[in-house]
Structures are given as C-alpha cells and as structure tokens.
C-alpha cells in the first residue's frame, strides 16, 4: 500500500479554523497513506468513537496519517503542561469545544488540519485534510498516541507520534 513520508515538514496547523488553530513546528516527519478495505468492496470502518459519521459507507476508503513530534509540547512553550492534544491547556479542535484526545471519552473531531511541507527544491506544498468549513466536519480524528524514548547511545530522536484518520479527500 502506497505511503508518502515527508521529513521536511514546516508545520502542522490544527484547530477549529485557520484563525483558531495552533501551528506545530517541531515535526520530525509526517506520513499518510490511503487505506482501502478489500479494494473498496466490503466491510468498511463503520464506527469511530462510537460515532457513525455521515458518508462512511461500505467500501469507504480513508487516509491514515502519522505526525511524529520531538515532544508533545507546543513548540516554543516553556510550560510542559501546554500539550496540544489534551485539555484543559490544549487546543480546541471543533465548534463543540472538544479536544483532539479525551482521556476516557470520545475524541473530538478535528475541523482544521493543514500540513505544510518543504519539498526538495524548497517549494512548499500544502496538504489540507480539513479546512474548517462545514463540509469537513467529522472527517478527521486523532486515533492514537505513541511515545518512544531511549537512553541508548545514538538514539536519533525521542518521539511522540500521533495517528490520525481522515475520511475525506485532500482539499
């Protein structure tokens, strides 16, 4: 299955709208791939966080994205409690006032999710998974978080990786 990995990521903007979002810049890598269940024929994902989003049908494909960070802090914030994904100091990601990750309940859908990539020739590419408009509501969710730290010599990075899903097309 095809997978695209960018290692020169300028930023990932996440929030409710372009004007109400945070720009995360300590991104080591961003990757996405298209997941097609049984070549689009059978058994799709049907439930996300106990929610059955409209537009998810049998054979629906989706994007799976990974965002690899140096840490889960908001960049340039000296306060370790400023973590983008969680409340109460995190970033509100939708008009219902939800956060991307709820410790125990349903995660909030992310209504604005824009990735800016620096290409090999220094040009910039923008990947818009959700643009803050109504059409992209309930299409992007955070689906998991993995933190990996090592004290071994030569460990290149200590990473916090967030996994997302996008049910819509790239804009």
């Amino acid at each position: 299955m095809a997978e695209v990995i960018y290692d020169r990521v300028k930023s990932v903007a996440i929030g409710t709208t372009a004007g109400a979002s945070v720009t995360i810049t300590n991104v080591l890598a961003f990757a996405y791939r298209i997941v097609t269940v049984e070549e689009g024929m059978v058994v799709p994902i049907s439930v996300i966080n106990d929610d059955n989003p409209s537009g998810v049908h049998q054979g629906h494909s989706y994007y799976e994205m990974l965002m690899v960070l140096d840490t889960d802090w908001l960049v340039d914030e000296g306060d370790a409690t400023s973590i983008w994904a969680y409340g109460p100091t995190g970033v509100v990601v939708n008009n219902d006032g939800d956060f991307a990750i709820d410790e125990d309940g349903e995660n909030g859908d992310i209504e604005y999710f824009v990735v800016t990539i620096t290409e090999h020739d220094a040009t910039e590419t923008t990947l818009t998974f959700a643009d803050g408009l109504a059409a992209t509501e309930k299409t992007v969710w955070c689906m998991g978080e993995t933190s990996e730290f090592s004290n071994e010599d030569g460990a290149p990075h200590q990473t916090v990786t967030y996994r997302f899903i996008c049910l819509g097309d790239l804009i």
Binding site: D70, A80, T81, T146, F149
Partner: protein
C-alpha cells in the same frame, strides 16, 4: 534563525511515589490505545476494570539492570495488585540552546497494574541483560 524546537533528550528516572527512583532505564514507551474499533480485552487484563472499548495506556519500561521498583506489585502465585501510588516518569528536556529542564508525566494512583515482567538472559557474551516491565493504566496522565 528559528527557535530551536523543545525536545526530549532522554529519560531521567521513574519512581513510584514513596519509593526509590530507578535511573537505569534503557527505554520507555507509552501507547495510548484509543477506541477506534471495539476492542476485545483478553483475559490478561481481566479484573483491572479496563472494559471493552475503554481507553488505556500501555507502558513499557526496559531497565539496563535489575530493579525492584515494581516488585511489590508483581505476584507469582496470586493476582497482581494495583499500584496504590502514582507512577512518575521524569524526562530531561532541552528547551533552547544550552538551556535544559525536566518534564514529568505522572500516572495517577490506583490506576496502574504490572502485567508483564521479563528478565533478560544472563549469559557470557550477551551485551546486556535487560529487565522489561509492562504496565497498563487508565485515567489521566498529568504532565508538568
């Protein structure tokens, strides 16, 4: 020049409050498992109140040498007991060139269980004899 990103340099220690901090840590991993799909929780987790579809964290700590930090919570002939104290992991952080600090992740009390304890093989010519523990927990993680 853009500000240098805040980043984690390594793991300083792990401690169960009231105990002694262990610093001989090789690696630390946390998986926050979300309920994207119905999860069947296998029997190994039965009894710790992690229900089907619930979210939980799986912590994996690898020590470079033996430690007794979790021994009180590991039983051979009985059910493992919940950690009645908080589990605190401290990281070394670089927040700017030449400026360092620490960050702690605190896993709340009465929400954590040791579910796996694995010794490395102690043999000649083995570079490291590691000791790996797996802990599952749920509830809030408090960063500071």
């Amino acid at each position: 020049m853009a500000a240098k990103a805040i980043r984690v340099k390594g793991i300083a220690s792990i401690i169960v409050t009231g105990g002694v901090a262990a610093e001989n840590i090789l690696s630390f991993r946390e998986d926050h498992v979300h309920n994207m799909t119905p999860q069947f929780v296998p029997n190994v987790y039965k009894g710790v109140d992690v229900l089907q579809r619930a979210k939980f964290r799986r912590l994996t700590v690898v020590f470079d040498s033996d430690t007794n930090i979790f021994d009180a919570y590991w039983k051979v002939a009985a059910i493992n007991v919940v950690m009645p104290a908080t589990l605190v992991v401290t990281f070394d952080m670089a927040i700017a060139d030449g400026v360092e600090t620490t960050m702690t992740w605190t896993y709340v009390a009465n929400k954590s269980w040791v579910t796996k304890k694995e010794f490395g093989r102690i043999e000649d010519e083995v570079k490291r004899s590691t000791f790996e523990y797996e802990i599952i927990c749920y509830g809030t993680k408090v960063p500071a």
